[in-house]
Symmetry: C2
Subunit: 289 residues, 2 copies
């Protein structure tokens, strides 16, 4: 078993247990707790919290309860973004992670509020466990108008907009903001938390930027390569809905070439660091190559 | 001119100028900046940022640029909550502060995203300017599932629910969470920022709790007492839409009595503090008495 696989199999259940317990115990209203849990516990890969923990591992910091709470805070924020992206006014998706999306299951107002509740709760967990305003600033910047939400805005603004279809700069920016910023923030928070040196911070940020860029191409490839049963959500949707992304711009073969090049670059960025676990995240992409 | 009036007329333009400048300068995408500004600059009373600043004034702390950024961060968060409350799936309001609501003006996806952008940006401003994880924890707790969003959930869950119409405990809790929590947090953040003593913290929290409770009754009275032109939004709506609140429970006369009693209590809570400015906020309620 690779170091990454071992790390993933060790910490994923810890993350899931923490999320399940604290969404049940810490939220006063049982119904809203249930609605939030429904989406959080739908079986995601926990990629972003694992990236945070793996960054600590690379830098030799012990993983304790506080680290798990911070990691889980990141996952709450990621889940909020999925719930809102799926809303009828946005991508209008009926399925996510193999089950009905939040608004299909509970109603639209409930889904909006579940997202609105997960976002500040995620930041609260990060703030309380870290006692670091610097980490709060990193995560809030990453998900605000110059980050994730800005990317989602570019996405809805460009859907069915043919003038954007061949604008690779626009598409690169949109994809970076939508997906890359939160991935980068997960690694950067780990670097701050583990008191990384300036050189380590640069290497880790470079890795995370390339990893995040690769992730978006991977995600787009999943949309065309996998059946909806494998992916747990509707696939082949992007083209039907007039979505513009790297894949619609480059086509499948060239997207795969681009992904391979990014994987190599990400490995190089980790040179000189203890990267057995963190570098192993790149194995994820193999299934679409 | 009262000390409160002077304070209000001095700082409101400073708040407005900061908001306008930084929503224009600090947000990369001009269109999303415009959509966010549209709602933030619609001419609110700036009650919560002023409460934060007045708490500093009570405790003798100088108001500088950092304090204005924190105050404005609170206003961004308040504006996010208004935009989402107005959405078709929620209260479905067409007008707010005398102009079209965000979703009527820009579209539903744009309004959801404007709220989703204002929330983390508001926290970022607070986090950066204060460098205090304690203040971030106060604000995120106040607006999460056990605070403001929890109250909004109870509200939509109880609309047109006759079993709740006479349940004063449920209504009190809902109104407290929806409105009171953010008001209390504004004062508590000021107390933390100005290094209040434990006794001062208790007095200020007691005042803010009563002020927040009074504010909700005041807001409900505005709905029945004012014409929509005066209020800048649809009035007489709560009853038509089957909303349950203290007013529908107690009636107008008894609500006014309750408001008067709360004003007296709030004044008493400030005994022993330099409360010329902070106590003056209670004058706001005179127009519905």
């Amino acid at each position: 078993m690779t170091a990454f696989k071992y790390f993933q199999e060790n910490w994923t259940p810890v993350i899931n247990k923490y999320l399940e317990k604290h969404l049940a115990d810490d939220i006063d209203d049982q119904k809203i707790s249930q609605i939030m849990s429904y989406s959080v516990m739908a079986g995601g890969k926990r990629l972003r919290p694992l990236l945070y923990l793996a960054t600590l591992n690379t830098l030799g910091r012990k993983i304790d309860d506080a680290e798990i709470q911070i990691a889980c805070g990141i996952e709450l924020i990621h889940t909020y973004s999925l719930i809102h992206d799926d809303l009828p006014a946005m991508d209008n998706d009926d399925y996510r992670r193999g089950r009905l999306t939040s608004h299909k299951k509970w109603g639209e107002a409930e889904a909006i509020l579940a997202g609105d509740a997960l976002l500040p709760l995620g930041i609260e967990w990060i703030s309380k466990a870290s006692n670091s305003a610097e980490m709060v600033t990193i995560i809030t910047k990453a998900i605000g108008p110059n980050g994730m939400v800005g990317g989602q805005y570019l996405d809805i603004d460009s859907t069915n907009n043919t003038s954007v279809a061949n604008d690779s700069k626009y598409i690169d920016k949109m994809e970076w903001l939508k997906t890359g910023c939160l991935i980068l923030a997960s690694v950067q928070m780990g670097a701050v938390r583990a008191n990384a040196t300036d050189i380590e911070k640069v290497k880790l940020s470079d890795f995370a930027k390339v990893f995040g860029r690769a992730y978006q191409i991977y995600d787009d490839l999943v949309d065309v390569v996998e059946t909806s049963q494998e992916a747990g959500k509707a696939t082949h949707k992007d083209k039907e809905e007039g979505k513009n992304n790297t894949l619609t711009l480059l086509g499948i073969d060239q997207s795969r070439q681009e992904l391979k090049a990014l994987i190599k670059q990400a490995k190089d960025d980790l040179n000189g660091l203890d990267s057995d676990v963190l570098g192993g995240f790149l194995d994820l992409y193999k299934k679409v190559l």
